[in-house]
Amino acid sequence: MMPTVSRYHYFCVAQFKEIFVAKDKADLLQGTLDMLILKSLSLGELHGYGIIQRLRQLSDEMLNVEQGSLYPALYRIEQKGWVSARWDVHETGREAKFYKLTRSGRKHLETQEASWDRLVLAITKIRQATT
């Protein structure tokens, strides 16, 4: 569980601010970013720009994922088979690439969320115990 804890630790310290920017830390945060992207897609099909917007809305403007981090993560998720992609015409009339959660992606999201919840619960308990 070590990596997950340190990931969470970093997550807290960074206060949700531009944490997905630094390249070296990308590995550390990969799993979390993946989960967030999957979560944003769980509400429906989206293009890359839409994913960023939705994450911002959902986090009350606290979380700003940079494009430079988003796309590599998206492609990796696509290679894992968790999302599928297709080019389609956007409502503005522009062509955009839309991503959609696959069945295995949904399953992965569920397990990720469950383990995240457990972790948060555990850490919360520990913090309550020490304070």
């Binding site: 720009y49 494009q67 430079g68 590599p72 088979g81």
Partner: protein, 888 residues
């Protein structure tokens, strides 16, 4: 699925890089535009919206790159890049590539060739069913002789009392005369119990094998043919089944044909010296005691699953001990042993083979060191290029990977060419390999050899590439990019040190190989110089084997051979002729027969003296140049009638009649059913019959009438080339008996040559590898000195300019080379002291640490490397000071 998607993406990127990048670019641009539109919607001016969007996006190119790293790029793409680039580098430096690749080809080729032999003999499963459970059962004589054949009685006891085996079969290889409406031919037959086919688990391609019913008394005589004999005699016709053949005068019915690759040949105790071509049932008469106790049977058995050879051996020793108690007069002090089949076949070649593999490994290491040296030179000339790449942002690992790719390319090229070398080697090996040891026919470049070669080449690529790659990637950028700072820079010194280390290790490795080869060469020479006790010049030998069916009476044998000897002696060009049942150094059974000296107290059973028994005629000694030391030769009448006289050799006389005249003493040699007392009439010189290595044991010579043998080896000493007379001799024999073949026609020189063939083979191969190692290390030291002279051009020019003599410059360079050589030789000698011990067993008449050999090869290597240094030294001497100084 993940790896598959990644692979698909990356391969697509590899093929259509532009379209993948376009796709990413398009997606990013859409993103940007959506952002701009959102900004405008939020009330910004178009310019402001664009600028803000661009700023929030960051560096677009970097974003595209990062995304592309996922889609394409990665190992595949950089590998493709590196291969392309490496190919260009290798093509640009053609001379370097040529030298490096051919060096590696020699090293890798030698490795693959030897490995193919190791694989065939030591690693590949034997071509029988469950070969790991097949074992050979032997007796060990009281004299400690291993792998002794056993008797019918003892075999029966083994079979009845043991529980370790599924099946057990006795067999005996014997020569049979095949006659019919064609020229009579001698074939090698395996007389075996039918269970042998169950033990080996091999099916016939036609008909059936021998079955237990065939071994019942009064069942019809049947024969199973080898594929070769079936092709030769029946033209490969299926209707051969059911046909009769005549073997040594008896009619057999052909019932089966074995597959082409099937053979079961235990060379050590074979009475024929070659693989069987026909299998017939070994008679096991139960009612007679005749031959019940003669030891002539080999035994093969299949262990039950889960039973180890050690357990089986323990059981067999218990049974043998019981036999020793029950029948002491035959079995006293006999023991038994169980040998796994692979051990039986290849036990005697395993050690030399692993040694050879080690030797070619050394050669390959030397080749690697050489190529590493070459790569260092190449890298030095590419310092600027690599520094530039580093300056442009290439990471160190990336540069190392690039350089390693180049060396792997080299290694793969080398191994491709090396396979050619190995193929030639495999073709050449059987030509020089000893026939009597193992058959190398099955050795080929099969998939395991190819796999091994691939593995070796990748490993070598990393070995010789890693050091230079690490070294060069550690370069100081500034120094390299600065013009002219090269000659005295720190890297040059570092690289020179690494080169020196490489060359010293090369020389050390070469010393070890040379020392081993030197020891083997000395042993070989010693072996040739051994006083074998006979003279081989112009002597021809051939075997005549009379079938029992046509020569049932002893008198007929004696008469036939005496008549043929008479004809031989009268042939023009024949100086003398004689005969012996078993030639020296040529198979035979190496019998050690017990004897008693009449008038001396009888020793307890199993502890009496034993001797080697040979049947000869009077002409034999003169023909082979064996001196009669005391007494007399056999007389004319003794060669026609049994007069109960024998000759003994000097060894027996010395041992048993040290202070006594052996002439007139009487012996009872246990060659007969009943005691037969014979008188010693003469003493002859010792002859090494069994091997050149062992001292001659005591020997007793009988005449033919006293101890008739159905086969004899005729020996003829001729005036000129002995082979010329062979057809004449064959004609003479056929004149006596038109149905009588002659076999094994060979000169005594050939016999001798075969006797030392194993030693010659090992010596030749190791000397070859040592020579290769020396050559390669000479090239290595040449390269280093050449490079060093090039680096020091300015310094040497300066020395010459201020008045140094060219001779001094020459000495300067030679001294430097000599220092490296001496260091290498010293280290090599230390290693040799430790390693040549492994050669024990292959050496003869020389210790594993032999001062003469070690000194000789050290001097040899010093001379070779001085010569290699001389060329660069001469170049240094001729440096033009003016030009050298201006050059910088």
């Amino acid at each position: 699925m993940k790896w598959f998607n990644v692979l698909r993406d990356r391969l697509r990127a590899l093929r259509r890089r532009d379209s993948v990048i376009n796709d990413i670019d398009r997606e990013m641009r859409t993103h940007l535009h959506l952002q701009i539109e959102a900004n405008i919607k939020a009330g910004m001016s178009p310019d402001e919206a664009r600028e803000k969007a661009m700023r929030s996006f960051g560096n677009v190119n970097r974003a595209v790159d990062a995304a592309y790293d996922v889609k394409g790029g990665g190992l595949f793409e950089t590998l493709a890049q590196d291969v392309r680039y490496g190919t260009r580098v290798l093509l640009k430096h053609k001379a370097f590539t040529l030298i490096a690749v051919s060096t590696l080809a020699l090293g890798i080729g030698a490795n693959s060739a030897i490995f193919s032999v190791v694989n065939e003999l030591l690693l590949r499963p034997l071509p029988y069913q469950d070969p790991d459970r097949i074992v050979m059962l032997w007796e060990v004589s009281p004299g400690g002789r291993h792998q002794n054949t056993t008797s019918r009685a003892n075999f029966r006891a083994w079979r009845a009392q043991s529980t370790s085996y599924e099946d057990m079969a006795a067999f005996s290889d014997q020569r049979l005369t095949l006659t019919g409406n064609f020229e009579p031919e001698e074939v090698s037959g395996q007389l075996a119990l039918p269970e042998i086919f169950k033990v080996l688990g091999v099916q016939p391609i036609l008909g059936r094998t021998l079955l237990p019913d065939d071994a019942q008394p009064k069942s019809p005589l049947v024969a199973v043919l080898s594929y070769g004999l079936w092709q030769r005699r029946f033209g490969g016709q299926p209707n051969a089944i059911g046909q009769p053949i005549t073997l040594s005068g008896n009619k057999f019915e052909v019932v089966g044909v074995m597959p082409p690759n099937f053979q079961f040949h235990i060379k050590q105790r074979s009475g024929t010296g070659r693989p069987a071509e026909v299998w017939i049932v070994l008679p096991m008469p139960t009612n007679s005691t005749e031959n019940e106790r003669g030891r002539f049977l080999s035994t093969v058995a299949k262990l039950k699953p889960g039973v180890s050879a050690e357990q089986a051996a323990a059981e067999l020793r218990t049974i043998e001990a019981r036999l020793s108690d029950e029948v002491p007069e035959f079995n006293k002090n006999y023991s038994a042993e169980v040998l796994p089949l692979r051990e039986q076949f290849f036990g005697n070649v395993r050690r030399p083979l692993w040694l050879m593999l080690g030797a070619v490994g050394f050669v390959l290491l030397i080749a690697c060191a050489n190529v590493a040296n070459l790569l260092l030179s190449l890298a030095t000339s590419r310092e600027k290029e690599i520094a530039l790449r580093a300056a442009l942002g290439a990471r160190r690992s990336r540069i190392v990977r690039q350089l390693l790719t180049e060396s792997l390319l080299l290694a793969l090229l080398g191994s491709a060419l090396g396979l050619g070398v190995a193929w030639l080697g495999i073709k050449a090996l059987p030509l020089i390999s000893p026939r009597d040891v193992v058959s190398l026919q099955g050795v080929s470049l099969n998939s395991s050899v190819l796999l091994w070669t691939l593995g070796v080449s990748i490993l070598t690529g990393i070995i010789f590439g890693l050091a230079p790659a690490l070294h060069i990637s550690r370069l100081n950028l500034n120094d390299s990019l600065k013009e002219g700072g090269k000659a005295d820079s720190g890297q040059a010194t570092g690289s020179r040190r690494m080169r020196s280390v490489l060359v010293v290790s090369e020389i050390a490795l070469a010393v070890v190989l040379l020392a081993s080869a030197g020891l083997l060469v000395r042993s070989f020479i010693r072996l040739q110089q051994v006083d074998r006790g006979f003279n081989t010049d112009n002597v021809l030998s051939m075997v005549v084997r009379l079938p029992f069916a046509r020569y049932p009476e002893d008198a007929q044998l004696v008469q036939f051979f005496n008549q043929s000897m008479e004809r031989m002696r009268n042939l023009p060009g024949v100086r003398s002729a004689g005969m012996v049942n078993f030639l020296p150094l040529y198979g035979g059974l190496g019998s050690s027969t017990g004897f008693k000296i009449i008038g001396r107290p009888e020793p307890p059973p199993g502890q009496g003296p034993s001797c080697d028994v040979r049947v000869v005629d009077a002409g034999y000694f003169a023909t082979l140049g064996i001196p009669i030391l005391r007494g007399r030769n056999f007389s004319e009448i003794e060669q026609r009638e049994a007069k109960r006289v024998v000759l003994i050799n000097e060894a027996l006389a010395r041992k048993h009649f040290p202070n006594q005249d052996p002439i007139g003493q009487r012996l009872d040699v246990a060659m007969f059913e009943t005691p037969v007392v014979t008188e010693i009439v003469g003493v002859v010189g010792n002859v090494r019959y069994d091997s050149l290595i062992d001292e001659a044991p005591g020997a007793v010579y009988f005449t033919h009438p006293d101890l008739p043998y159905p086969f004899m080896t005729l020996v003829l000493r001729t005036d000129g080339d002995p082979t010329a007379i062979a057809p004449v001799v064959q004609r003479e024999i056929r004149a006596l008996d038109p149905n009588q073949p002659v076999s094994d026609v060979r000169t005594m020189d050939q016999v001798m040559s075969e006797a030392v063939s194993r030693s010659r083979f090992n010596t030749f191969l190791l000397a070859l590898f040592a020579g290769l190692a020396t050559l390669l290390s000479a090239v290595g030291i040449f390269g280093v000195m050449n490079y060093s002279v090039a680096l020091r051009t300015r310094e040497i020019g300066l020395r010459l300019a201020v008045g140094a003599q060219p001779r001094q410059v020459l000495l300067l360079v030679l001294k430097q080379g000599l220092a490296l050589t001496v260091m290498g030789v010293g280290l090599g000698l230390l290693a040799a002291f430790a390693l040549t011990r492994l050669l024990t067993g292959l050496l003869f008449g020389v210790e594993a640490v032999d001062a003469t050999t070690f000194a000789t090869i050290s001097l040899l290597l010093v001379f070779v490397s001085l010569f290699a240094c001389y060329l660069p030294a001469r170049r240094a001497m001729r440096i033009d000071p003016m030009r050298a100084l201006r050059y910088e």
